[in-house]
Amino acid sequence: MEIIYWIILFLLIIGVWILKRNSNFILYPAFMLFLVSAILTVLGFRNFAETLMRVSLIFWIVGIVQALFEYRKSPQ
């Protein structure tokens, strides 16, 4: 099952590479997924919430690394 997380990561990197969108494009869905899984946790759906949050965090990792490069490229 864990291979699915690598596939998601791979697809996200490819997506970012091809679509050439900024980090918000990926961080906003990450944040929304985080919100949903937080609500699910409050409601007691721990297992499903955890899976969703893992996906959210994969989005977040890709987004934050992208943000790091954006900051470097931006005029300071």
Binding site: E2, F34, A38, V42, A49, S74, Q76
Partner: protein
Amino acid sequence: MKLAFFLIFIIPLILVSIWFGEGYILGAAEAELPFYNLKLFADRTAWAWNDFQLGYVSSFTVASNPTWSFLAWFQNIGIPGFLIQAAVFYSLFVVSGIGIFLLTRELFPNINPLANLLSVLFYWFNPISLANVWNRFLYNFMSFFALLPVTLYLFLRGIHKREYKYIILVNLSLLMFSFALTSYVFNLLIWSVFAYTTFFYCLQSEEKSKIIFNIKFFSLTFFLYVLFNLWWMLPTFNLFSSESSRQAVTGNVFTSEGNVQTLQLLSQKLGNFIDITRFMHFGFYHGEGPAWSSTYNNWYIVGGLFVISIVLFWSILNFKKERSILYLGVLFTATLILSKGSNPPFGEVFKFFFEKLTFLQVFRNPFEKFSFLLQVAAAPILGYGIFKLGNSITKRWFKGIVYLASTLIVVILLGYPFFTGLVFTGPSFPNNNYSIGYRVEVPSYYQEADQWLNNQGKNFRFIGFPLGGEGITYKWTKGYQGVELSNTLFSTPNILFNTTGPYYYQVVDRLEELLFKEDNFFKIATNLNAKYLMIRSDINHRIRSMRDPKSVENRLNSEEFEQIKKVSQFGNISFYQNLNWEDRTVFVKPYLVEVRPSSLIDDLLLEEVGESSIVYQDISNLGLKNSVNTLILHPATKSQIDLNNVEYEFNISEDGDYDLLLDNNYLTKSNDFKLSIDGNVASSSAKLRDDNKIFYNKYFFKKGIHKLVFNSTTVNNLITIPQTFIMNNLNNDLSLEINDFDPYAKYFVIFDVLITKGPGFVFGLEEGSQVGERISLHDQFVSSDAKFTDFRQIVSTFPLSSHPEKGSHPEKVRFFLKVDPQISSEVMFENVFLGKFLEFSPLLIKKIKDPDTSFQTPSISYIKHNPAKYSVKISNANQSFVLIFSDLYNPSWEAKYEDGKIIDKHFMVNSFANGWLVEKGGNYEVSLEFAPQKLLELGSTVSRISFIGTLLYIGGGYLLRKRSMKNKLWK
């Protein structure tokens, strides 16, 4: 701003007033009770070797010595321990508060004081701080909690301001909190954060000069860190530099396989994002913590904690273009990923590095360690996020609500256990009594006993009974549970608990059984240099599965123990003197008895190991054959073929006649057996010897492997029970007496069973037969399932671990069978049999040569300079002899002649001690020194010079600046 600082100083004052207002010191877990006697802790950590227990390496704890010495000074001038502890806790809170305040301000200079204060409150009261730092109650964790924001602030300030003086300030902060450095995982964490900070600022810099400065700043900080900390680094790293010294300290306690298993188990439990993002330690808040901690699982508190996480993620998302948010955001995200360990996603990567780089295996509990970084990254983001959220609101009253709500969530929701003192309570007795919690009051008789022991001399140790593991529970008015307190309560070296250290464990694990089974136990005590035996009756032995102190007392008072007499009583502790004792700190013996494959402390009781001999196990091929008089062989392997047959395999290294000895303790009740050697029935001429061993016969063995099979024709059923019977909800409870129960033996139970109705049944061992006093020692549930259509044979063994029955009264242990009386059940039993596993403990003994009667023991005297150094004066040595030093064997102990020549034949004797074969006659001096101590002294000198040099550099720089200012003014 002033108000914020005022609160940073005043809130901790309120907290320590609540915690220490009643005048008790706090103690629990692995931290012991240092504030009861700080001087003892200062003494213990001053040397690379500690003479407590049987002696152990203390290099790891040397880094805590300046702290203990500093605090001991206050206790010496009469300040009570609880006040010093309160002051320490206050300081840690204030320092961590100022640290996080300044760190937040450094990263976000325009933040308002209220939001800045919020980051401080969150850092203090977040769930990680509660569970992993304060409730965990480890002083190095607390110190690291305070140090991290301060040192990170100074490091960042240096990078921002581009001033090298911050290198000194960073290192001074590390030196001041050197206590935190006793755990090398914290050293790794600090340097990981510094490395990340340097990398981040290099990555974000366009100017080459800035990049060069950052790298220089990092490198020089590290260089000065090494110089300042060489005093504890040198002896510690030396210990792990060779396999033999590492083995002598840790043995096989921490194996890579074990660490990987631990990592996976803890990652599965603690590494879920839905918990980590709320800063929650899953175990603590789901049953492992105090009862009140489960309140944090209520939906509204879960929701409240997610509000904090949402603010954090929202802040990173919206303000990631600001350098400081990006810096903290990357750190926060990286720490989140690391905290989950080997859990998905991408846990394979963590596991890969964990397995390949063994130094990373200190992170086998990743959440516990990385969560320190999680808090320090999150606190400033939270403060800034609230500040930005407030700024985005135009209506003043609504802005006020945002600040008020966030402060209330942090202070009331998270701070409640701190302000009520619940943070210092635990799940088990006595910490689960909220009026006690971690409060401890040591009875005054301990001080009297310690004083009495000090008056008896400084050249002995004592053994305390009952003997258990590392944990202890005391039944004092304000009781204690946690790590055993022998280091804290007594200044005389002692053996009061067992732990998994190599050599030590094997010796101490046998002591209590030998005390109960061998009338000449005093021989063991003398060889361990134990002048006194102590009985403590103020412990909760039942909780700790220890033997009842009363049964130890009865044993010591029995007539068989002529050599052991009661001499003193202090409250609930009593002392018995070993009349056979003579100072065995350093002594000499002429003869060696070689034991293979490994020696046991029990061997010292054999007749062959007389007054002039010592037991020696050839582990290093030193060529000592000429000094060996007798050879003792233990079986290389033992296997239980079936219930009636047990096989022992011996590896004979040389042809010859061997005496076969059997253990009388096991045989008195089951003499009915036959022996075959290599398949041939062996003849017997058994007789009991004075050392309680049975001489079975003398046999000739050729070099090679030989198998001895004992066949016991009658293995008795130890319970009286009908052959067939039925249990149901009317006849639901059967408790049977066990004949001749031996708490140190191993048992099996075997029976046929058919469950025709109901959920199943429970069987096991219990103590007591009266209603209200029955305590289950082991129980096993057999559940009925679809496959239960015919009789099934159940086989089980007791004990499941080593000797859990020790805690019981052996005469009260019973076998039980139970079905649930509330549920309609029917269970048929046949042939229920409880038996004892066969144990003969055979030994083969070969006499090699008669002792040399012309040998004259050289006379010796010694001076103990400190626990790590002794001088031994030897007079009238006329031939080779063995010099024995009765501290735990460690290859780093060195014996040297006056000319500095090392005595190279160093080996373990008497199953635990250091022995050297001294091949020099005449009168001379030998020094015994623990080698890492020299490194500690060398490191201390370098660190002192570096420290003084740094102070001179600062002072000189200050004077030069002052002079140039004056000159400018004059001009």
